[in-house]
Each structure stands twice: as C-alpha cells, then as structure tokens.
Symmetry: C2
Subunit: 385 residues, 2 copies
C-alpha cells in the first residue's frame, strides 16, 4: 500500500443555512479544499452523507455533486455509515489512493438538515438505530444516550457536572472557531438548567441540527511532498469497526466497543499508542459520548472520563486536548460532514494554522467518528510528515 | 495492486417478498455466497443499497447487516450510487482487496421495495434524478427513458418492435433462471399491447419493483487459487464514471456517455476490446436502456442497437449474448442488489454452471450497472483465471 497524505482542507461556516442548497454548500467546501491543495485535477471523489434521501429527497449524491462541481466524468461514490459517513468516506479515499488506482482524490461530507419535510430530522436521524427493535418501540438518540449516561453515572460515579463540563469546554473551544455554528460560551449552570431533553441530558448536552459541508484533498505522500506548498500531513492509521446496532444487545452499554476496536486497528497500523497522541477530534454528539469515547480510545482509564474532563485534561493546554474545534457540540453536527470536518481540524492543527485554538506543538492527531450509538466507528491517525 | 478473484456467489429467489425483511433477505444471500466460497471468515463488508431510508426507514446498513450476519466487529460500509449501488459496492470491495488492506471481502446488495410507505416507490426511485431540476418539475424515470426512446427512434429509426424484442429476449432468458421474479415468456404483441406507462414504453418495457439481495465473496487471486474448489474467476477490469445528472444538460440524450467512459476505463485496465467479450449483463431498467447500453459498450455501432437485437445478435447463442440471466426486465430490479447480481450471473456463466441458460464456452464476461439515466455507471470485466 502506498503512503497517503492530506494536501488540502476546505470548510465553510456551519449553521442554519436556509438560503443555500445541499449542492451549493458541498461545492463551496470542495472548492475551498481544492484551492487549499493547489491542484488542477481530481481523479476520483467520495461523498459522505447519511440521509439526503430523507432530509432533502435526493440520493445519487456522487453523480449529482461531481456534476455540480464540474468534475464529471470522474468516478464519484456516496458512502453512508450514519453519523460516521464522513469518516467512512475518508477511509474509502485513503484506500483508493493507497491501492494505486487513483492519485488525487477529493473526499467531501455534507448534510442539509434544517429544512427537512416529512418525518422531520428526529425521524431521519433515528434511521441510524435499529428500526425494528429500537425506533419502532419509541426510542430516539437523546433517549439512547441518556440511558448510556445514567448507566455510566451509576457504575462509575460520573456526575451531572462532569457531563456539563464537556459542553462548557467544547463551547469554549468553539468560540475560537470561525466555522462553528454556536460560537457562544456556556456555563455549567446554563447547561444543567437548560431545557430537559432526556434525563439527565438537557439541550446543551446535545449537538445541534446543522447544515454543513467539509472537504479534503488527498494524494500519495510522495506526490504531496512534490506539489504541496503547506506542511504535509500523512495518514498513518485507519481503523473501522462495527458492533451490535441495538444498544440492548450489547454486553455493556457504557463501553463503545466499536470505537475501541477501530482505534486498536488504527494504532496498530500507525505503530503508536494512545499516549503518543497530541490532540483528538472525537464524536461528542452528546456530552456523555465524549466521556465514553476518550475511555474507549485509551486516553483515560475506563470510568475516568468524567474526572479527567473535570481536571481539565482534555482542554486545550491539558494533557490530551479533545475537540479543539468545538466538537459536534459547538461546531455543529451535519452528520455526513462531521467526520470530514474532524480531518480538516486535525490537519489545520498539525499545520499550526488553528489560530486562537491552536494546540501548541501538535505533531500527531486522531479523529474518531461514530454512527448511531457507535454501531459503526472509524478512527484515523494523522501525523506531520 | 493485487489481482482479485471472485470465489463465491449467492442469490435468492427475487420477487414480492412480503414475509421477509431487508435484513433477512440480505443475510440469506450473504450466507449463500459464504457457503459457495467455502470460507470461514470475512475481513470486511460492503453493502450496495440505494434508498433504504426512503423504502424502509433504515439507514446505517453496514453496521445493521454485519450485526445480523454475525460478523461484527469487522468494518462494514454501505455504498450508494442509485441503481448502480451494487456495482459501486463491488468496485469498493475490489479496491480494498487490490490495495492489500483486506483479504476476504463480502460484497452484498439489497433493496426492499414492495412494502414502502410514505411517498411510495416512484418517489424513492425519483431521488436518483435531479430533484431540483427534474423531479420537482414532474418527471419520473419511465418518462425520462421514454424521451430517450423517442429520440433514439427519431434519430436512428429504431422501431417499437425492436424495443419490445429486448423484453421478449430477456423474458425468454429469465424463464430459465430459477431466481428470476418473472419467469414467464412474453411476445412482441403482449409487450406492445400492455398498459401504457410513458409513450412509447408500456409496462412490459419496464423493469419491475422487486425485493431482492445478492452477494459475492472476493479475495486475492493468489489466495483464490489455493482455497477455491470451483473455477476461479478473476476481476480484470473495473471502470466507473459520471455524467450530467439531469438529462436536459447532456449533449445527446440517446448516448450513455458515462457507460462509454466506464467501459473504456475497464477495457483499458483489462487490456481487451469489446469484441473479446463472450457475454454481458447490462442495465436494462427499460428496454431502450439495453439498446443504448450495447451501443455505449461498443458491442454494436451507434444507432444499431435495435437492428442488432432484432437480428438475434444479443440472444443466447448470438454473437454477443446480453442478459442471459433475464436482466432487470425479467429477473427483477431491487436497485441496490442489481449490480451484485450481475456479477453473480457472469461468474456462474464463466464457471459453466448456468444450466439451461448457459452461454457455451464463455471465458470473458462484462457487467454494466448504471444509476438513474446513467449519471453514474460502473463496468466490470471478469475472466476465467
């Protein structure tokens, strides 16, 4: 397998983009990535998107977006793995470049969620869970993660305040990110006293509904060294894994087994251990999700995600900065775009271009993107080449 | 890139499978492929599916189906390219094995279309077209292909009878396929006099709404030679391409430019020319589609698809047998499964296991799977190793 590098990243401001369509936000992010990469051709494209069918009545995104980006007739394929669609799309691009089939590959992610008709955003998102055994019986994602939070609190003594502190930290980071949907800071009291969604999770424990897109350009490392005018970032590890889709079929609902498995595969490929990582973008779709994720990734011991957050270990400047971008919580969570945006943030950090939210001296970063309640997970490791 | 072989194929009887769910038909086909391959492990899985979100309210099929197949925690990813989802999924499996990342990969395709609620099957299928410029203005797929048929008749003198003869041939072939949804023969008169759908296309010019699944197991050629008890079939070419998604934006609506481009890429990789092909499974979603496809693939001259069909050149026993399985027309068209089933048929033919519909002496086969009105297309070339 050839070595692979990221040579371009493209973000746009995320939010409720009523005046823009799915195709226009995708093209905007993709053009930013192509411009950043400084390339004049694309050989193949992947698009991560969870549910454009239910959100905007449009499938066939590979062809649609290659057409609107003006790069047809190249191969263009849409990848879906619920909220991990972006990370999964990046993995497919990585595999294609590594295989030798294509040199310059564009990977984008997109989701247009605010102007949904029909069953609404909650129904569309619920299709990431087991429709027959979970959704039919009335559960929603806030409900599922609330159960995971309650179990974590019971078993490990995780406190309500510790959950809230994840939101406080990530909004603090997001306030320094011009692309973030919500750039306001929040306090522990504000989080705990905001509208209850599914006990113990209030609305400020939940990531928002977002319109957004993100894109990256990748190529063989050897080519990157020749053509890139920016610090080259190498993809040293890629791991993916699955788990029982329905939460009730898992041995331990507080443990993200697919995240652990995907991370172990990525660590092995990269030849590193969790303590080598300088910063991570993890999938904080709910505050409890970040606590479970940092445990599964091996950054903290099992059950210690709450205390580590409270001690500031995951803040910028802490032992292992998590979600310097603001995470899903503050930056927003256009589900198919999230995994690609995580790559954009890590590359930006490794290049030293993250401005106010820069993690000093970052050389090695990780992204963790999960689908549903982590029935699928994709982990990538990136390193300054 | 490593050489890749198909070592297992799995089909089920397609049709209106009211008593079975999406997950159960997928598992059935996958188990058939695994048993045929004789392997005891799977390293990675791809699932081709167009719109399970709109058809059955379920996304996240990679995780769901890996779980129900009992193969989690392996990586499992859903691929979507409208009606070319199956062919696109096969291509991703091919790339992953070729890259060296995984050895034994399962590629399945599935669609459950009959018990759809909400907007119905016609709406779900329409999401393969341009929602903003085509569907919003009232077009449907029968309407789009009817326009292509009218233009082909005007420009090249293609006759109504020639269109009908595609259906007659494919039903004739399908009558010999125990997995086909419709195993009855039809006559030219029956086709022409059946219910009008979109002039000139009647219902017997259209592929049906189908529940179905199909699966294959692939691995490196070197490994296949060691473990396979059946004739080994090598994947020698893989090509994919895109085109303007909206038909009105194309230079010539009778020409499937993406099919030509994908085929040229596949021929180049395989080092062959169209006349080397012994049989082909092509995407006959409508009778006119087969006529346009055999022209774009280079089997006949542009404009000569109708006369070639009338002369029996594409029948089993003809110069270039097309759709010996019965094609989408008779075998059925569960959109995400179609491209994988095409691979199953070609492998079955190349192994000499196709029974009554066997193409004698077949050594080299081609599959052509397209999305929408061929805004995306995937072509594969398979050869007895």
């Amino acid at each position: 397998m050839r070595e692979v590098a990221v040579i371009g990243v493209g973000m746009i401001k995320w939010g409720e983009l009523w005046e823009k369509s799915l195709r226009s936000i995708f093209v905007e992010a993709a053009m930013n990535a192509i411009e950043d990469a400084g390339v004049d051709r694309i050989d193949s494209m992947y698009v991560g998107c969870m549910s454009s069918g239910l959100f905007v009545g449009q499938e066939h995104l590979g062809a649609l977006l290659a057409d609107y980006l003006g790069i047809a007739p190249i191969p263009a394929t849409r990848i879906e793995s619920a909220c991990a669609s972006g990370g999964a799309a990046f993995r497919q691009g990585f595999i294609e470049v590594a295989s030798g089939l294509s040199d310059i590959v564009l990977v984008g992610g997109v989701e247009k969620m605010t102007d949904v008709s029909g069953g609404g955003a909650t129904f569309a998102l619920s299709t990431a869970a087991d429709q027959e055994y979970e959704v039919y019986n009335g559960v929603t994602f806030p409900g599922l993660y609330a159960m995971m939070a309650r179990a974590h609190m019971e078993r490990y003594g995780t406190t309500r305040k510790q959950l809230a502190l994840v939101a406080v930290k990530n909004h603090d980071n997001g306030s320094k990110n011009p692309h973030a949907q919500y750039q306001m800071k929040v306090s522990v009291d504000q989080v705990i006293n905001s509208v209850m969604i599914a006990d113990p999770l209030t609305i400020l424990d939940c990531s928002p509904i977002t319109d957004g897109a993100a894109a990256v350009v990748i190529c063989p490392l050897e080519l990157a060294r020749k053509i890139s005018k920016k610090p080259v970032v190498k993809v040293t590890g890629s791991g993916a894994a699955t788990d029982a889709i329905a939460v009730h079929q898992r041995k331990d609902i507080t443990h993200l087994a697919a995240a652990e498995e995907a991370a172990q595969r990525a660590y092995k490929m990269a030849g590193i251990k969790p303590s080598d990582i300088d910063l991570a973008e993890v999938h904080d779709c709910f505050t409890i999700a970040e606590i479970c994720a940092i445990e599964a990734l091996g950054f903290v011991e099992t059950g210690k995600g709450g205390p580590a957050t409270e001690a500031g270990e995951t803040a910028i400047g802490g032992r292992i900065p998590v979600n310097p971008s603001g995470g899903l919580k503050s930056k927003g969570h256009p589900v198919g775009a999230t995994g690609v945006a995580q790559i954009c943030e890590v590359v930006t950090q490794l290049r030293g271009e993250a401005g106010e939210r820069q993690v000093e001296g970052a050389k090695l970063g990780l992204t963790q993107n999960m689908g549903g309640t982590c029935a699928s997970c994709v982990v990538h490791i990136l390193e300054v080449a």
